[in-house]
Symmetry: C2
Subunit: 548 residues, 2 copies
């Protein structure tokens, strides 16, 4: 039997275009003599639609889309993700898979395990399935599962697998009990560093232990802060890999369920995958928001250089514009490095010095400032003059501004709200500074794109004389470790101190992180690459006094 | 039997201070010869702690707090909200009530119905209770319910009550079946216009039909965007009101369960309640964030005038500073009205004209702007020069900036991101413009505080010559109706058009709302007063193409 994996990139809410694409893939699958074509979770609407699901029109539209898909299924089996009404329990819905054949809707299958943690809110919208049942494709019995359904840690091995949630139901075990021959999983599973390794190992093990092959079909594409990586695959009953679709791009991959062609076990390539995730995240955000061009403030530092490099990869050099906005505190190197970067990337770099504007602000603010000494106020003034320039270019030319701050800065509030934080997408906001370095070196590994001077000089905001990041922050290698323990692993101060970090530093970092929540609440969406990104998956009150 | 209602205002996460306050209230209740003292849902931690619940230290701290409360319960019964570990299902928790007497923890009661809609995310953290059981206070059998537990629409009358969620379990019915004599409900239920009317009617009806009196104890206080209004109360077995605690302030109210003293049925006073909600919301946000003073940009318009008026009520005139920042487009009236307002309120008003800075920006941007005609770019420039000034004052003097935009503007994106949207708290962001007018007139009903000229002139952003809001927006009375149908009631364009609104206007409004989601994602928290506010309770993707 031949299965076609329809690894599509839907635009959220654009039911008409998403449906058309699914129908086009069905046609191609039929042309390739596939018996069955499988599309990802919620493929008609795109994942995650969030509160758009509360609009009944969207659900109705997606059911109409589904009818068109049914009508287009002549001579082929189709499994496709959609959303159904829970008629017994309005306004609740089902996260559903349709099983379709030859112009008929054969059966509907609902998701059982509804992730409600981190970026997922499925219990906000969906009722769980109460049962699972298999379907027949020709003579073969197939069990349909939807994303989380296959990740219950109790199934098969009894391993503790899911960190977030333990469920009392195991849909996969229920299917295995009913003599299923193949399991199909349709997913919308966002990229997180290290997650594929876990996924591959887990599904391979599930197949190997149960003796039931698995076909895993994942959505691809960037949707706001989430990048779905595709990487759909198939494992045989021994848990060996027999098919692997592309990462980070659309594909229709036709595979033979009985294929004897074994692939080597896949391996994650951390930096290359993060690079691809960021590139796809930028490209889809820009295009799905209706933009084609971006503008980036270039400081001569590594963060803006890396952001510009990724933007060029995503959009082409003709669509990326850099602006350098030197002040009296900018080093000559910084301006030079921005132009060197621009040359390496083939992008235009404009220069708008801010010295005169800064001086005028200082002068006009004299009565208000009452002769108080300079402090962070004057540093922020400069950053906000720059954002005003960037936003003027954005407004005048319809270029979406990318921000360049990294996760370490955002954690510590070492950034100016309405200043360098101003923009439409925070490309690096989930990369700790140490990861910014690693990725920059990786990108430079074939040839110098980011000037090596930029990578090698000590990081500085250049908002006052001889400023260095490390005047205000602990060394990044220590800081990033403490931040990971607090933000990703939720350790207490004393637990972190027990790991060998210096007490005063740990306490100061944790307090600083919490105190700066107000800045993160107003940050643009960032692209998630770690298990805990700032943004929709991390919800912290601002007015609070948690005693860490 | 005497019951003390402990209507406390906890600070989220500040377990030590919250516990101390609870213990102080217990002492006072004992001094008043109360048999039982009741505290709100999650009183030890404060509601909603959001993802702070993922920190095990917080849960452990709250259990230690609970032990102190147990130790302080000599000669009195206590019911107190806290959070418990779900030991069978880590990392899940229970939203719990402790039943305590005379130094002993008698029993633990878990919440059954876990709201997961709008601003609520309880299934993200909590497992539901599997059963309910009553407790005995002296000879009286009492059923303990937690917030949502009492709002299941299936109970008693079979009415369709809850708009958001239908549950298959009814904890109140289970308690009634076990011959409970009184029902206690501990809540953390945020203020929403009209919600108390519904709440009062529903609980009165529940008591009247079942013949079981209800004691309802609600949290009070502002926590980020939510204002908990207190308004705890008691109804007898006929559903008549026998006690009513204050709205919008802390109180220890001692009531006799058998009281024959009937109160008139309570009535919501919309404008006065909204005023109090906003005042408490401002005060608690400012203080719980560790600030005492605010700064507000005064435009001479009604939004900033109302914001300043509420801030003065919340913080005192000595803690509120206004800044007027006239441009070449500002009318003389606007500046005069700001100073008149300042005089009426007794606050200081500083003036920083922006003309020179604006001209310099225009000059410096000439090469970048390539001679293109003036448009929204130049309007935004002015707004962002002003925010830079406001933020400089904020940084230099530690004054939290309040923003002044209303819900209609925020819906339509008729505001400048990083400009007038810049600040720590968006006081009016859930008030449609028509409600801003109503509240302003209400506030002026005794004497003129907001200059009447400000209320009566046509609203204008004054960012270009002779600009009026109605050049860019439909008339506010129409706009606000369409916005409510789309945002609060999630109607489709055609449903709204069927209500009699003009097709082109409706379609344009809906598209504009969705297109401006990116601005709202970066807005400061606002104070919720309607059933659907922008912010944490409304989660819309940015890169999406929902066909409304």
């Amino acid at each position: 039997m031949k299965i076609a994996i329809g690894q599509v990139n839907p635009t959220i809410g654009q039911v008409g275009a998403n449906t058309d694409k699914i129908i086009e893939y069905i046609r191609k699958a039929r042309d390739s003599n596939a018996d069955l074509v499988v599309f990802p979770e919620m493929a008609i609407i795109g994942y995650p639609p969030m509160d758009l699901l509360e609009h009944r029109k969207l659900i109705k539209d997606n059911l109409e889309g589904l009818q068109k898909i049914v009508a287009a299924s002549k001579d082929i089996y189709v499994i496709c993700g959609y959303v159904d009404f829970d008629a017994d329990n309005p306004p609740m819905l089902f996260n559903a898979a349709a099983f379709i054949h030859d112009g008929e809707m054969i059966s509907r299958h609902y998701k059982t395990l509804l992730p409600t943690y981190d970026v997922f809110d499925e219990q906000r919208y969906f009722s769980p399935a109460k049962e699972q049942h298999t379907v027949m494709v020709h003579e073969t019995s197939i069990g349909i599962t939807i994303c989380e359904d296959i990740w219950n840690d109790m199934s098969v091995s009894g391993d503790r697998f899911m960190e977030n949630r333990r469920y009392s139901v195991d849909p996969v075990q229920n299917l295995l009990d009913s003599d299923v021959e193949y399991i199909v999983n349709i997913s919308a599973s966002p990229y997180v560093k290290g997650k594929n390794t876990m996924k591959w190992s887990r599904i391979s093990k599930l197949a190997g232990i149960s003796g039931v092959p698995v076909v895993y079909v994942n959505q691809v594409g960037g949707n706001d802060s989430l990048v779905f990586d595709g990487n759909s695959f198939m494992v045989n009953k021994k848990g060996e890999f027999t098919a692997m679709a592309s990462g980070f791009e659309e594909e229709l991959l036709v595979v033979d369920l009985e294929s004897k062609n074994l692939l080597p076990s896949p391996l994650e390539r951390d930096m290359e995958d993060i690079r691809k995730a960021l590139v796809l995240g930028i490209r889809d955000y820009i295009h799905k928001c209706g933009f084609s061009q971006v503008v980036i403030g270039l400081s001569g530092g590594i963060d803006s250089a890396l952001t510009a490099t990724l933007a060029v990869e995503a959009l082409g050099p003709e669509n990326v514009m850099g602006i350098t906005m030197p002040s009296k505190y900018s080093s000559k190197g910084s301006v030079d490095h921005s132009f060197m970067l621009g040359k390496n990337l083939g992008i235009s770099v404009e220069s708008v010095p801010i010295k005169k504007m800064y001086d005028l602000f200082l002068e006009e603010l004299v009565p208000l400032m009452k002769g108080l000494p300079m402090d962070i106020t004057e540093e922020n003034l400069q950053a906000r003059i720059r954002s005003n320039i960037i936003m003027a270019v954005s407004n005048k030319f319809g270029r979406l501004p990318l921000t360049t701050g990294n996760k370490s800065e955002l954690a510590m509030g070492y950034c100016t709200i309405y200043g360098d934080m101003a923009g439409g997408l925070a490309v690096l906001s989930d990369l700790p500074k140490t990861m910014v370095y690693s990725l920059s070196r990786h990108i430079n590994s074939e040839r110098e794109i980011i000037p090596w001077e930029t990578i090698e000089k000590a990081p500085s905001a250049e908002l006052r004389e001889n400023q260095k990041d490390e005047d205000s922050l602990p060394p990044y290698d220590l800081l990033d470790q403490v931040l990971e323990l607090y933000i990703e692993r939720k350790c207490s101060a004393s637990e972190i101190i027990e790991e060998g970090f210096q007490e005063e530093m740990v306490k100061s970092i944790l307090k600083t992180v919490d105190r700066n929540e107000y800045k993160r609440r107003q940050a643009p969406p960032g692209i998630k690459v770690t298990s805990k990104a700032f943004g929709i998956g991390r919800r912290i009150p601002i007015a609070q006094k948690y005693e860490q």
